[in-house]
Symmetry: C2
């Protein structure tokens, strides 16, 4: 995809991540864009804020988009490589593309998605890396809880 558009869409997810951080939460953000470029939904991780472990950023954005008849042509934008839960979401609902801010601090299931026909656009965004690196260093237990490491 066009790099300038990718950067613009990633900005939406980064804004969500920063909102989550400001709320005392885990700084991961996501946004779901339609085939025509319309923003369908956006959200961020809400484990801390809502005490809800199911609201990873991608699920929050998917939920905010409401019921859709089809996800063909949609793009899930996320600041961080999607975990298995969020990768499964993308595969099950036929989301066509995933735009990822970084996979340096955590590497989820995006190779598996690529094997199953999902287009992956991986940036190496320093802002996304910095957000997670700082958060993990300061909150290792919370981070491990969020990814089921124990």
């Amino acid at each position: 995809m066009d790099r300038a558009l990718a950067r613009t869409w990633l900005t939406t997810a980064v804004e969500e991540a920063r909102t989550g951080l400001a709320e005392g939460g885990i700084p991961i953000g996501a946004a779901l864009y339609g085939a025509d470029g319309t923003l369908l939904g956006r959200g961020h991780n809400r484990r801390v804020q809502d005490g809800d472990p199911s609201l990873h950023a991608e699920t929050a954005a998917f939920r905010a988009a409401g019921r859709q008849r089809s996800y063909r042509g949609t793009t899930m934008v996320t600041t961080l490589s999607p975990c298995w839960y969020c990768s499964g979401l993308v595969r099950q609902f036929g989301i066509s593309r995933v735009l990822i801010g970084e996979d340096v601090t955590f590497r989820g299931g995006h190779d598996w998605l690529a094997e199953h026909g999902v287009k992956i656009v991986l940036l190496d965004d320093e802002e996304c890396i910095g957000l997670m690196r700082d958060f993990i260093a300061g909150n290792p237990d919370l981070w491990n809880e969020d990814i089921g490491v124990n």
Copy 2:
């Protein structure tokens, strides 16, 4: 696992599925049991009721259980074979076992989970099969929407 216990736990998920059906929703229910047999959370598909596509039954039960430090030893009980989204949930959070009512009307990712060390207990429950068979026959579009088929 003990078959009598499996039947008892499945009953919880079936009750959830029937509650969902009575609400006009998709009749899939789930429950998360702790390593010591405590019921941690239960829920059912809420796509229709809440207009929320993220609340598959397994995610609803996981959400209802709130934040947990570890899922080691837990069992996800579900009336229907878990889709990729819910299979990803099980894998990411290290849920140890999945007890499934049936995989006749829909077959999700439970073989993949077994390959990755999750213990699978598959029943061939006629009540679960009947609930889904009737629902799918009467609501094919809604069912396809719920599993991303379009």
